[in-house]
């Protein structure tokens, strides 16, 4: 019982804080976030990724789609050649080797950062928008609307998310955008539930009732009074969701259902060369490592955000 009340109190405080003096709350959050080493590491990796994604065109030594046959003396799937590590200076330097189509793997990895960030943000934005609308409607209106929405969410949740995403992509046809849609659809229920829960928790609170009594418009109340409450859990869920989305999109691409060639996307690069793992391990190792680091960054950041935004956990996670 005591847990429940304290949670309500927190929610109330958050709500007031956001609407009255939201700046200070964000400041608190940032300060808390910066105290956490793991979150800092996450932000560090993320900053690097964003930098690479923006500047890929300039920092990459080659174009990601440039075929080097006849341009340089290299062969398909050639192992990495790094001058610093003793690779003869007369050979062209390719620090992550050459891929199956005789392209520079390092340049493709750099350009892949764009794809992954895009995938992460696009799917989660899509899922949050739809999930928020559904969750808010269900929570606010209640009754059969709520029932129908939540049962549909249950059906979606009843499938292992990757399998459902595979099935949806097969219906839509393979491709990066369709893969994004599929993963977005699959992750809607998580957000819908979060929003619904926080709508339910504040629906009956005094200031909402007051707005209602003053004859406020339903949607006005929903968007001005109720939804800001859901922001905190949404940010946490969203950040962690980006990690999952990138992982799932990579899995779809690995299976050949996501990004299509010649796009430099880590999952499809890995999937395309998976049969060469024993003869050219560098073609599998680096894209996988890149995926892992990106996902790690979002996971660390998400955990840090959760701890920073949830005062209850403050003393535990220390």
């Amino acid at each position: 019982m005591s847990k429940e009340t304290s949670k309500n109190k927190v929610a109330k405080l958050d709500a007031e804080g956001l609407s009255l003096k939201s700046v200070s709350l964000w400041q608190i959050m940032w300060r808390r976030l910066f105290k956490r080493k793991s979150a800092l590491v996450g932000m560090g990796i993320l900053a690097l990724l964003v930098f690479v994604a923006i500047t890929a065109d300039w920092i990459a030594p080659y174009s990601p789609t440039e075929v080097l046959i006849g341009v340089e003396d290299v062969t398909a799937r050639q192992a990495p050649c790094i001058h610093l590590l003793g690779c003869p200076k007369d050979q062209p330097q390719h620090i992550m080797g050459i891929d199956g189509n005789v392209r520079d793997q390092f340049s493709r990895i750099l350009h892949g950062a764009r794809q992954s960030l895009f995938i992460g943000f696009a799917t989660v934005t899509f899922a949050i928008v739809i999930g928020t609308v559904l969750g808010a409607l269900g929570g606010y209106l209640g009754g059969w609307v709520d029932n129908v929405i939540m049962r549909v969410m249950d059906v979606v949740l009843a499938f292992p998310s990757l399998l459902l995403a595979i099935a949806i992509v097969t219906v839509l046809g393979p491709g990066l955008i369709n893969a994004l849609l599929a993963i977005g659809i699959v992750s809607i229920p998580a957000y819908a539930r979060v929003v619904r829960a926080s709508v339910l928790s504040v629906r009956e609170m005094d200031y909402v009732s007051a707005s209602k009594a003053m004859g406020g418009n339903t949607f006005h109340i929903l968007f001005k009074r109720i939804l800001p409450n859901a922001l905190t859990p949404l940010i946490v869920q969203g950040t962690l969701g980006i990690a999952t989305a990138i992982l799932d999109a990579a899995a779809l691409s690995f299976l050949g259902l996501g990004a299509q060639p010649p796009m430099a996307e880590w999952g499809s690069m890995l999937g395309a060369e998976r049969n060469q793992v024993f003869t050219a391990p560098h073609l599998v190792f680096y894209p996988g490592l890149a995926i892992m680091l990106t996902v790690l960054a979002f996971n660390l950041l998400g955990d840090g955000l959760r701890d920073a935004l949830d005062p209850r956990l403050g003393h535990v996670a220390g």
Partner: protein, 567 residues
């Protein structure tokens, strides 16, 4: 409360139904098996006394198939009467989809059921156990009429990943593997414990175009592309050793395969000029369709597609967007002429004859894959197919090949070589251009089990109704056809039939069966078994025309329509 209990009951019902459905219905199958065994035993006794020859015939040839009449003339003679001359008939009946099984066994199983997992053949091995998903185990058939198998037990395993197959071979857990990845060729060659055997390339990989969609309706555009693809580079980079740049559509090892002028030389400048002349000096936008399916003719699908895409852009400024389609949808769209760009496809030989290559793609009966047909190709092919000898047919095929080079319905790129790899200690190791390696002649001295690892699990072992090489190879160890291909080659040799003879105009073929050939169930081969095995496939109205899917795809693609197909 009432509603609650109703719901509860319905839930229970649902649950019990779920459980009930999990029990496989195997009773019928076992029953059928015992029945067949007893019948087989009695057959030997009664057969000699009274042989009632089976005859099935079509009312006329209007139904559109090749057979007019299939009959048992006597106990050891079968006669096929055809609707039109067919010089390739021996090659066709040597194909393993037309293997002979005992008539009683086929009837006892209603043309399906146990047949799918437990074929009864005359081959050197018989099926011992098929652990689905895991392995397929064969044992030596001691009553085999020919050279008995050298190794008592043969095991088939499978893995779709070539890397895994190679690793299993290196680890010594398997004795031979199919299709090592192109990059693994060197690894295997350099390993003294292993041997690599190339499989001759009896296939073609091509870039297809449909002449009903602009700009491919302009012959100059097609020719320009034909000149501007560096096919040598594709073969060098993405094909294993043993592959060749295609000079013609049909591989040279097939009689009359590469008569006529060889393909255009790589000349992007001439190509650009021709494209400009056709009105596209700055190239155009199009699509490049393919399916992500590895075949012998296309071992690295996505790499080749990306390279062609890059070449089109670099040499002709043609901007091709890659569109990967699901295999079935892709073939369907290609056949119905819906692909409005370039498409990547190939063909593997079913039987070593020009008709299997050229007629199927460019003949009168070909699909709309390349759009409108070219009369000069069609006419020459029709003329050639009526003639019996390769010498007589040569000039027509030369003309057809030249016409193909002129019109460029497609660009032949490569004959893809593949390979098999074995432990160095394997004796009798060989590869077959048709993919039907014969394991009865292989052995590692002193070893009782021989393990073979291929790309995939067989779908069923009733190969009359299967098309994939993985199923066919398993069947070929167990069942045999009237004729056979020589081990590791394409020449037709006697098998269950000691010889097959044609009349003068090649419309009546008579096959004389080997006597005393024993099936795995102990019964003896006679002419009725042959007729029954063929009629099961030919007659769509037969109660035995069931199979796995009921499609009998190879029969219809080699012999045309089924009898009674409309019923």
């Amino acid at each position: 409360m009432k509603r609650t209990s109703f719901m509860l009951v319905s839930l229970l019902v649902l649950a019990s139904l779920l459980l009930a459905s999990c029990g496989p219905k195997t009773e019928e199958a076992t029953e059928a098996a015992t029945q067949a065994a007893t019948e087989a035993a009695t057959e030997a006794a009664t057969e000699a006394a009274a042989f009632e020859p089976m005859v099935v015939e079509a009312p006329n040839c209007d139904y559109g198939g090749e057979f007019l009449r299939i009959e048992a003339v006597d106990e050891y003679t079968v006669r096929f009467t055809l609707c039109y001359p067919d010089p390739a008939f021996p090659s066709k009946i040597a194909f393993s989809a037309f293997a002979i099984q005992p008539r009683e066994w086929l009837e006892a199983n209603g043309g399906s059921g146990e047949l799918l997992t437990h074929p009864i053949g005359t081959g050197p091995y018989m099926v011992q156990e098929w652990v689905r998903g895991e392995q397929l185990v064969f044992t030596r058939f001691d009553g085999y009429w020919g050279e008995k198998a050298l190794t008592p037990t043969l095991v088939f395993r499978w893995s779709t990943e070539s890397a895994q197959r190679v690793l299993e071979l290196q680890a010594g857990t398997v004795d031979g593997i199919d299709n090592p990845g192109p990059d693994d060729f060197a690894v295997i060659r350099s390993d003294p414990n292993l041997q690599l055997i190339n499989r001759p390339a009896l296939n073609i990989f091509y870039i297809g175009m449909n002449n009903t969609y602009p700009p491919f309706d302009d012959e100059r555009v097609r020719q320009a592309i034909a000149m501007s693809i560096d096919r040598q580079r594709i073969v060098d980079q993405f094909y294993p050793e043993g592959s060749e740049v295609a000079t013609h559509f049909t591989p040279c090892s097939i009689p009359n395969g590469c008569v006529g002028l060889p393909w255009y030389d790589f000349d992007p400048e001439a190509g650009r000029a021709l494209l400009a002349e056709a009105g596209y000096p700055n190239g155009f936008d199009t699509k490049l369709f393919y399916r992500d399916v590895v075949r012998g003719y296309l071992p690295q699908v996505s790499n080749v597609a990306q390279d062609i895409q890059a070449q089109l852009l670099a040499n002709l400024n043609i901007r091709a967007e890659i569109v990967v389609m699901e295999s079935g949808a892709f073939l369907d769209a290609a056949d119905s002429g819906q692909l409005d760009g370039l498409h990547l496809l190939g063909w593997g030989a079913d039987y070593p004859d020009q008709t299997n290559f050229l007629d199927y793609h460019f003949g009168a009966g070909a699909s709309a894959q390349f759009g409108e047909k070219f009369p000069d190709i069609v006419d020459n092919l029709r003329a050639a197919a009526q003639l019996a000898s390769d010498e007589e047919r040569a000039p027509y095929y030369e003309a057809a090949n030249n016409a193909i080079r002129q019109h460029v319905p497609m660009i032949p790129v490569a004959h893809g070589g593949s390979a098999v790899a074995f432990k160095a200690s394997v004796q009798g190791a060989h590869s077959s251009p048709l993919g039907n390696e014969n394991f009865s002649v292989m052995q590692i001295p002193g070893q009782d089990v021989f393990v073979w690892m291929q790309n995939a699990e067989p779908i069923s072992l009733f190969c009359a109704d299967e098309t994939d090489g993985e199923s066919l190879r398993a069947c070929e160890q167990v069942t045999e056809s009237l004729l056979a291909f020589e081990i590791g080659g394409t020449a037709v040799k006697p098998s269950l039939a000691e010889r097959c003879e044609a009349n003068e105009d090649l419309t009546v073929w008579t096959c004389y069966l080997r006597q005393g050939v024993q099936f795995h169930d102990g019964s003896l081969l006679d002419a009725n078994d042959v007729v029954a095995s063929y009629v099961l496939q030919w007659d769509a109205a037969s109660p035995l025309h069931v199979g796995n899917t009921g499609a009998f795809t190879y029969f219809s693609s080699l012999f045309g329509a089924f009898l009674n197909a409309d019923q």
